[in-house]
């Protein structure tokens, strides 16, 4: 007979109440585990939250859109019942120099290159569809595993593209996005959009090798950007309610200081303030480097592994701009209920990336702009607006120093905005520019990188965050990883957390089966 719930010790402690932590905790609780989730901040959500950046003006804390949550958790967490709904998939409006604004919805657009875009989108979407299943599985290893069926299934998925497309897939999968844009498109606005979306949140430019795969990964998450009704905080709220409904106990303002290790086994955590919590398993849904370097410490890790963790590349190049505006901006007539991408050309995106390589602020940053107030009421006083923008690329190691770089980044971003929306500057009441360093300090993202470790081909799949921890189990028994630093990365998606929970449940099942066989 199972032990009554109340008398049983804690099964799992999940560190970090972001999307992945919530997803992992919920899945484990749904499967009968007694789970406590620890969040350092006052509310859950992590990068998906809301913050009053100036009195009476509330902006998305960090992420302002999602490219889609993992479908497994949307269904299993019953997020709709817990209040999650989305606005219609967002139209993207490209603002490129003096060209007329161009609206793009997935594969549909207008202008002379509409056909080319539709074809390219169709092709890349087909590639993304065969890659998408890899996002929902524990990364494979070539040796020491017998998941041939899973591998064969997904391998066949790729072969199902057909001979010509399969060859095309192999040609393109590790190519740079700039070449793809040059080869397949003729409209400068569409080239710029493709290159912008591929490099959004990454530390690479359109001409960097392997940049197309990031675009495929984006498409694998979803065809269009989505905005939750009520903003990103509503998404976090719905997930938190679902977690609690599943039995997860959420503790906010609980900052973990150290992992408790006894007999070479993670047995719990010590919170700031000294409180110790014990559990059978500890799952870290925070940054992997922070997990191993701060919570575990090098002394309890093998030296080779510790070095690999130290070498996780985690440079952030995206800055976040929040503006309080006294009037609605006018982006040359563009629909304000759309995602605005300001990028003059593919080459201009590459140029703005060049600057950060040398610790400089780009002369003309490119950006993704959203006006949450165009969708929601109550974020700002009546008639006023909030502008939220992801501005690229921001120097992760500014030569001029952080303060000077932040001021310069703000100035140049405002100049770019003013050029596309004349009069916008005059309406700015408050401005907040979060540089990668600020993002690191506020959200614990090492280097300010959104994915808790650069999402790049050499840090994907079985190399994310590093080979020896790529299957969610850390080398320290009792410790698991569930954050965006693990496969398949971040982006307000939850797949990493869900995969981690599945891996934990499978490991338990395997051990039980083995014990059963021995008995």
């Amino acid at each position: 007979m199972p032990t009554p719930f109340s008398e049983r010790g804690l099964d799992v402690l999940v560190i970090g109440g972001g999307v992945n932590g919530l997803a992992c905790a919920t899945r484990l609780a749904q499967k009968g585990r007694k789970v406590v989730l620890l969040e350092a901040a006052a509310t859950t959500g992590g990068g998906a939250g809301e913050r009053e950046f100036a009195p009476q003006y509330r902006a998305p804390a960090l992420a302002h859109l999602t490219q889609g949550l993992d479908d497994r958790l949307v269904a299993a967490m019953d997020l709709q019942r817990h209040g999650l709904s989305f606005h219609a998939p967002l139209v993207t409006t490209v603002l490129s120099g003096d060209f007329a604004p161009l609206a793009v919805t997935a594969g549909k657009t207008s202008g002379h290159d509409a056909q080319g875009w539709a074809e390219l989108h169709g092709k890349l979407s087909a590639f993304a569809r065969v890659l998408a299943p890899f996002r929902q599985m524990r990364p494979l290893r070539l040796a020491g595993e017998t998941r041939y069926f899973e591998l064969a299934k997904r391998g066949l998925g790729i072969r199902s593209l057909g001979k010509a497309d399969f060859r095309e897939f192999l040609r393109m999968v590790l190519i740079d996005v700039y070449d793809v844009a040059e080869d397949e498109l003729s409209d400068a606005r569409l080239k710029a959009l493709l290159c912008f979306d591929a490099t959004l949140g990454a530390w690479l430019g359109p001409r960097s090798p392997n940049s197309l795969i990031l675009y495929l990964d984006r498409l694998a998450r979803g065809a269009s950007p989505l905005l939750p009704k009520g903003g990103m905080a509503a998404l976090a709220g719905a997930m938190s309610r679902a977690a609690e409904a599943a039995g997860v106990e959420i503790r906010c303002n609980a900052s973990v200081e150290r992992l408790l290790i006894e007999g070479d086994q993670a047995v719990g955590v010590r919170l700031q303030g000294g409180e110790a919590l014990r559990a059978r398993l500890v799952v870290s849904a925070i940054n992997p480097r922070t997990t191993f370097q701060k919570l575990v410490g090098a002394a309890d890790l093998d030296a080779g592994f510790a070095q690999k963790i130290d070498h996780i590349r985690s440079r952030g190049a995206a800055a976040k701009l929040h503006l309080a505006l006294s009037a609605a901006p006018n982006f040359r007539g563009a629909d304000l209920q759309s995602r605005l991408v300001i990028a003059p050309s593919a080459a201009a995106i590459e140029r703005s990336f060049n600057a950060v390589k040398y610790g400089e602020v780009p002369a003309e940053p490119v950006m993704e702009v959203l006006l949450p107030t165009a969708f929601e009421q109550g974020l700002a006083p009546s008639g006023h607006h909030i502008l939220s923008a992801i501005v690229q690329f921001a120097p992760h190691a500014p030569k001029a120093g952080l303060e000077a770089a932040r001021a310069e980044m703000l100035e140049r971003s405002l100049a770019v905005l003013e050029a596309q929306a004349p009069g916008l500057r005059a309406s700015v009441l408050h401005a907040e520019m979060l540089m990668p360093q600020d993002i690191e300090a506020r959200f614990g993202m090492v280097g300010g990188n959104w994915h808790h470790g650069e999402l790049a081909v050499e840090q994907m799949l079985f190399n994310r965050p590093t080979f020896a921890a790529a299957q969610y189990a850390a080398p320290l028994p009792g410790l698991w990883l569930a954050g965006a630093g693990s496969h398949p990365g971040g982006g307000i998606n939850g797949a990493a957390g869900w995969n981690a929970a599945e891996a934990i449940l499978q490991a338990k099942a395997r051990t039980t089966a083995k014990e059963g066989a021995l008995a």
């Binding site: 002394a299 093998d302 080779g304 510790a306 070095q307 028994p477």
Partner: protein
């Protein structure tokens, strides 16, 4: 000589070169760790005899040396190496080894504790990148000091008497202990350690002390027939002592090109080193798993009939199934026995029905011998004088 110009002289000369080159009548040199080292000075048999019956001097300078200092030195070494460096008392020395994450041996070496926060590692191969990588999270300073230290190994039953005659009172020095002694206004360190399995000492100097000390030692040792020895004689002595050498008896994991060539401490007979209670160390989890599952290989000492050395010979089980390979072999003058060290698959470690196939070259024709082997405890040669304190006077 700066290391930056080493390409001008592909092999470096040790601080004793002026003396060793003068004594090297055969001009037989070989490379060791980037230095030229004497293989034999004139007569390998006489040099071996000096090790076992008199006093021999071997130039140890090419031995790779790292100094570890700082508050966390003991904790750092406990995480790096298999044994418990915190338990090693100041003035003590121990034989240890270290592994990678997978529990495969990178090297073995001796660890000297000069102070509570001051250690010296002496080993065969270079490891600075690994030692530095291992230092993350520890308050330690890791420095390669190979060129800053000159060292000699004085070995043989008369070695204590030679040191007495040279003015160094080593009567109270126990095996694996060291002490400092004044020398010409400076100081030298003498440790009772060595690689011959005999009474012997290692002498640690600064490079500028090298030549005056050599002259002083050889003058004092003359009545005991002190003589410089090369690696050939030392190799015979170390086989008798049953010691293993990196890259001869095993391939260090970071140099192995073939995945299955790396060996764990268990597989090299070094499992006794592992301190499971000291806390985590690199490779611990992999070694625990290996301990539970069993190892693939074993290192054994064997005795072979006859007097034909079995170097490189293949071992067979039941004369048919390949079981392993001899990594070191010699006919031992001290024991009058044909000895060998071999790596065998663990299932043949008991050496039941184990045979060695020796190809003996006799005037351009091979005589093929298939000889039964007998498992023999290492050290093969283990005289009481090695351990006696005070050491024997002769």
């Amino acid at each position: 000589m700066s290391a930056l110009t080493h390409f001008r002289t592909p092999l470096l000369q040790t601080p004793f070169h002026a003396r060793t080159s003068a004594a090297n009548t055969l001009n037989r040199w070989g490379p060791w760790g980037g230095y030229m080292t004497a293989l034999c000075f004139g007569d390998a048999d006489m040099e071996y005899t000096a090790i076992r019956n008199g006093a021999s001097v071997y130039d140890l300078c090419p031995m790779v040396k790292y100094r570890i200092t700082g508050r966390d030195a003991a904790a750092y070494l406990n995480r790096l190496t298999l044994r418990n460096a915190a338990k090693l008392s100041v003035g003590g020395v121990h034989y240890t080894a270290w592994t990678d994450d997978a529990g495969k041996i990178m090297d073995d070496g001796t660890l000297f504790r000069h102070g509570p926060e001051d250690y010296l590692i002496c080993c065969q191969e270079r490891h600075l990148p690994w030692l530095l990588a291992s230092s993350t999270g520890f308050e330690v300073h890791v420095e390669e000091v190979t060129e800053a230290i000159a060292a000699l190994s004085l070995q043989g039953p008369c070695s204590a008497s030679v040191l007495e005659a040279a003015g160094f009172d080593v009567q109270g020095l126990k095996p694996f202990r060291m002490a400092t002694y004044p020398f010409e206004g400076g100081e030298i360190t003498i440790s009772r350690t060595g690689f011959t399995g005999d009474l012997g000492y290692e002498l640690w100097l600064t490079p500028d002390q090298a030549l005056p000390f050599w002259d002083h030692l050889f003058a004092a040792g003359a009545p005991w027939g002190i003589r410089p020895i090369g690696s050939d004689a030392l190799d015979l002595a170390r086989i008798e002592a049953g010691f293993i050498i990196t890259n001869m008896d095993f391939i260090p994991v970071h140099q192995a090109l073939r995945e299955d060539r790396a060996r764990s401490p268990f597989e090299l007979g070094l499992g006794w080193m592992i301190d499971w209670e000291k806390g985590h160390f690199t490779g611990r989890r992999a070694l625990l798993a290996e301990k539970a599952k069993g190892s693939d290989w074993a290192l054994i000492g064997i005795d072979i009939p006859g007097n034909i050395s079995a170097e490189g010979a293949i071992l067979y089980h039941g004369k048919k199934v390949e079981a392993g390979v001899v990594t070191a072999a010699a006919w031992s003058p001290a024991l009058k026995a044909n000895l060998a060290i071999a790596q065998v698959q663990a299932k043949y470690a008991a050496a039941q029905d184990l045979w060695v196939e020796i190809y003996a070259m006799r005037e351009l024709q091979y005589a093929k011998l298939m000889l039964p082997v007998t498992l023999t405890e290492r050290p093969f040669f283990n005289p009481a004088r090695k351990r006696a304190t005070p050491p024997g006077r002769v």
